[in-house]
């Protein structure tokens, strides 16, 4: 197989991302009111140059915001000071910071999808994981930091797992559709967080804002020895966890059970696997992963629990899990891509005042194109995937 052919599986996701950006730019152009006024004033050429200029400016800002600005790298190489390096590397570091929670929630969703369970409750599991970690850290304040840190991470896992267990259990026992229950439990989780943030135990002594005390006394250590970079070991742990998830899914009997149940629940049952058990296990593992993501978010990145701890990670995770083909390695790549988008989006907003929500829209388009590979193939006139030999094209032909 040639190296080019090896890249073929990447063609669809890459083209999906490209298409999403093209559609996004169309929306950018047609909402560029000042430019449109130029158009209506009868100067279409000026309109085109202005509008396209704005789009290019925006996407360039997005790129430099996500991966760094070449001049800053040049400066860093010239000066060589840690400060200059930090400035140059920061966009990249922030991209990975943004990717870290997405890897965890993405893995959570991938595990659930692989098991045939549609966990839309990543948000709830994530925030409760964060809450559990914060509460544990505050409770164990004064203990040696490593112990507190470890306990807090475990608490995050436990809280997330517990929040995943409920819909899993309900589905296994009563058949309650997990899409509905997990969404409802997301809302309940937010209420629990709000309630918790009103307790004196959580709140800082000053004021009565619903926000937790700062818990930087158990901070996850930073990964890079440069000043002011937030990238922490949580990212490395995320990679390790992804490898573990991969191992679990594809090399262990429990993982095999989950995958079988996900692909054909009846056959799994006939083969002696416990369908209910698989559903519950999948949801618990899924919840635990999301919860661990939440824990790392408060313990590593923001050091404070608040209502805003979650930035829709559970939802984004669905997108990137699909984008990554529900494979842990794919999830990592997709999470870094989305992290880059989100991170670069902020730079784009600062420079061009384009709303961040453009990227939410673009992310939605990415999922759409990835979920409809035939559409992408059609747009780009790609050869369809070669028909598998002997595959019955329709039931009729075989009967």
């Amino acid at each position: 197989m040639s190296s080019l052919a090896r890249l073929r599986p990447l063609a669809i996701p890459a083209l999906a991302v490209l298409s999403a950006f093209i559609v996004g730019s169309v929306f950018l152009i047609f909402t560029d009111i000042p430019a449109l006024q130029v158009l209506f004033a009868g100067r279409p050429v000026d309109f085109l140059t202005t509008a396209f200029g704005n789009v290019v400016h925006a996407y360039v800002a997005l790129l430099t915001g996500a991966f760094g600005d070449p001049p800053r790298f040049a400066e860093a190489i010239q000066q060589g000071t840690p400060q200059a390096w930090a400035t140059a590397v920061r966009p990249l570091s922030e991209t990975l910071v943004a990717a870290t929670p997405l890897i965890f929630t993405g893995l959570a969703i991938a595990v659930s999808f692989r098991s045939g369970v549609f966990n839309i409750g990543g948000d709830g599991q994530f925030v409760l994981g964060a809450l559990g970690a914060t509460a544990t850290a505050l409770l164990l304040r004064g203990f040696p930091a490593p112990i507190t840190l470890l306990a807090s991470l475990v608490a995050g896992i436990v809280f997330g797992a517990a929040w995943g267990f409920i819909p899993g259990f309900l589905k296994a026992r009563t058949g309650a559709h997990e899409v509905i229950t997990t969404i409802m439990l997301n809302y309940v989780a937010l209420q629990i967080v709000q309630l918790a943030l009103r307790t004196d135990f959580m709140r800082p002594p000053k004021g009565s804002e619903p926000i937790s005390q700062v818990i930087d006394f158990v901070r996850v250590p930073a990964l890079l020895p440069l000043p002011g970079l937030r990238l922490h070991w949580g990212f490395v742990v995320a990679l390790i966890v992804a490898a573990m998830v991969s191992y679990f899914l594809f090399r262990t009997t429990k993982g095999f059970e989950l995958r079988s149940a996900g692909l054909n629940l009846t056959a799994a049952r006939y083969a002696g696997m416990s369908a209910g058990g698989s559903i519950i296990l999948a949801m618990v593992v899924s919840g635990a992963l999301a919860g661990l993501g939440g824990a790392f978010q408060v313990l590593g990145t923001v050091t404070q629990m608040s209502n805003d701890i979650d930035a829709g990670y559970g939802w984004t995770a669905i997108a990137l899990s699909l984008l990554g083909g529900n494979r842990p390695s794919g999830v990592i790549i997709a999470a870094i891509l989305f992290g880059a988008l989100n991170n670069g989006g902020h730079e784009m907003q600062i420079e061009t005042a384009i709303p961040l929500d453009l990227l939410v829209f673009i992310q939605a388009l990415v999922i759409m194109f990835v979920a409809a590979p035939d559409l992408v193939r059609q747009i780009y006139r790609l050869r369809p995937k070669s028909a598998e030999p002997g595959a019955p094209a329709s039931e009729g032909a075989a009967a």
Binding site: R251, S260, N264, Y270
Partner: protein, 501 residues
């Protein structure tokens, strides 16, 4: 009306389903379309009903070429279909089901005119002696009645040409006889009938002309009066086939499976098995005959631990398994070949190797301490593939890409890879070609001869008679009779299947 198909060709990716097929049926005549599974009968029928369009060839009705772009056009041309799998919405009642698609309506919003529809259903039902309660819900009707509803559907649309696809597959011999009466009546009143089947006796009994299909081509057209079963079988399969499997005498040992007064509910919470009693001994094959839907499925599921026993007892090799989980049953040495292999037996999107270990993945040597030993898995799967002659590019191929026969072999290979005390095989050869059928029958007999107890459930009377050392008949949730193979004639078993005893 006279129906003629000329040179119909239909190609699917990788399969030439219909290759220049020409058939003809005259007004008021019954054309028997005979062919084994995969011969292209259903494709031809779907072309006729407007679901598929042929790549080439033409359909003529009374000499006029017609093109059907969708079923509606076929229906309006007077073609009525009775599908093998009934096309009836379970939650509708008979009137709704019959009228669906040709509803009489009133008013601007097209309110369904139930009164009119109902009157017509009653009228047709009486006229053709179909005896159907117009207000009954489909899901509460017995299979035979559902088929009459299907025929009503065609009559309701004033179909002049009626196509019946494997109509007897779900009927008792008695019901089949009734069906034939109806068919003869319809033909007498001028309806052209195409009767699709793979059962030689039936075409011989009811058809005016027989066209035999083989591998997508017409193998020959004969008159019933000028042919016999052997010739038809030869045409159908293309070589001389042994219609009976050669098997030695059984040497029954002790009882491996004991079923005592067992009651089991179905998914709708109705009692599907009502006090079944049966014993299967080591070294014998017990074949359960019966029309589909008489509790066989539920009984098999109860034996294999998939369904709870409501009351009564099931013992396998001495252990009571009334409430046992499937895993425990399989640990007792039970091999289960499920009824619907794609739904129940295989995970399409997994590889051959993964499917090979599907129910023993947790055992040594595949798994050690919860982790897979990939070398052993590959080795064992390859051995299974070789031993059972499963045609697959590799053990890493997805099972969904294999042919039906190879998929079934896949299941048999898997189930027989463990030490087996009891084999429970439901419809083990459904939808397979003759070669695969022979192969699987051979393997089952081998297991018997190796001392396993075999329980086969089949709706194919031929299969039951060919394999069973003893033939049990299930009717209405109970075993209504057990006959030794020498007494198990078609007639005797057929009577029992129809509830006469």
């Amino acid at each position: 009306m006279r129906l003629e198909l000329r040179e119909i060709t239909k190609q699917f990716p990788g399969v030439l389903a219909n290759d220049r097929i020409s058939i003809a049926a005259d007004r008021g005549k019954v054309l028997g379309l005979l062919g084994e599974n995969g011969a292209g009968k259903t494709t031809l029928m779907n072309i006729l009903s407007g679901l598929y369009r042929p790549d080439s060839g033409e359909i003529l009705i009374d000499g006029t070429p017609r093109v059907f772009n969708d079923p509606a056009e076929a229906i309006s041309a007077g073609i009525g279909m009775v599908h093998q799998h009934f096309m009836l919405v379970p939650v509708f009642d008979v009137v709704q089901s019959v009228a669906l698609g040709a509803e009489p309506v009133t008013g601007a919003v097209r309110t369904f005119d139930r009164t009119t529809a109902r009157a017509r259903v009653v009228e047709l039902s009486t006229q053709y002696g179909l005896d159907v309660d117009p207000d009954a819900k489909i899901e509460n009707l017995p299979v035979g009645v559902r088929q009459r509803v299907e025929i009503l559907k065609a009559l309701y649309r004033k179909s002049d040409i009626l196509v019946l696809d494997e109509p007897s597959a779900v009927l008792t011999p008695g019901e089949t006889e009734e069906l034939f009466t109806i068919i003869r009546g319809l033909a007498a009143s001028g309806t052209t009938i195409i009767f699709i089947t793979h059962k030689l006796n039936e075409v011989l009994e009811v058809a005016d002309t027989i066209t035999v299909l083989r591998r997508g081509r017409v193998a020959g057209t004969v008159l019933p009066s000028e042919t016999n079963r052997e010739e038809l079988a030869n045409l159908m399969v293309g070589r001389d086939v042994e219609l009976t499997v050669t098997r030695g005498k059984a040497h029954p040992g002790e009882a491996v499976l004991e079923i005592k007064d067992v009651f089991v509910r179905n998914d709708r919470d109705e009692m599907a098995v009502r006090g079944a009693n049966l014993e299967v001994h080591a070294g014998e094959i017990v074949a359960i005959a019966g029309v589909q839907g008489n509790g066989q499925t539920e009984l098999v599921e109860a034996i294999t631990g998939l369904r709870r026993v409501d009351s009564g007892h099931i013992r396998i090799a001495g252990a009571t398994v009334d409430q046992a989980k499937p895993r425990k049953v399989s640990d007792l040495g039970v091999a289960h070949i499920p009824e619907d292999r794609m739904r129940d037996g295989l995970v399409k999107a997994m590889t051959v190797a993964e499917n090979y270990i599907l129910d023993s993945y947790h055992r040594e040597p595949y798994s050690r301490g919860g982790r897979f030993d990939r070398t052993s898995i590959a080795r064992e799967a390859q051995r299974g593939v070789d031993e059972f002659d499963i045609r697959t590019p590799s053990i890493e191929t997805h099972v969904g890409n294999l042919s039906g026969g190879n998929q079934q072999k896949m299941i048999v290979a898997r189930e027989f890879s463990r030490p087996v005390k009891l084999v429970v095989a439901a419809q083990p050869t459904r939808g397979l070609d003759v070669g695969s059928i022979e192969y699987i029958h051979k393997r089952i007999i081998e297991q018997r001869d190796a001392g396993a107890a075999i329980l086969i459930v089949s709706t194919e009377l031929d299969e039951v008679l060919a394999l069973g050392d003893r033939v049990a008949v299930m009717f209405s949730g109970r075993i209504v009779g057990v006959l030794p193979s020498e007494q198990a004639t078609k007639e005797a078993v057929g009577m029992l299947m129809g509830g006469v005893h």
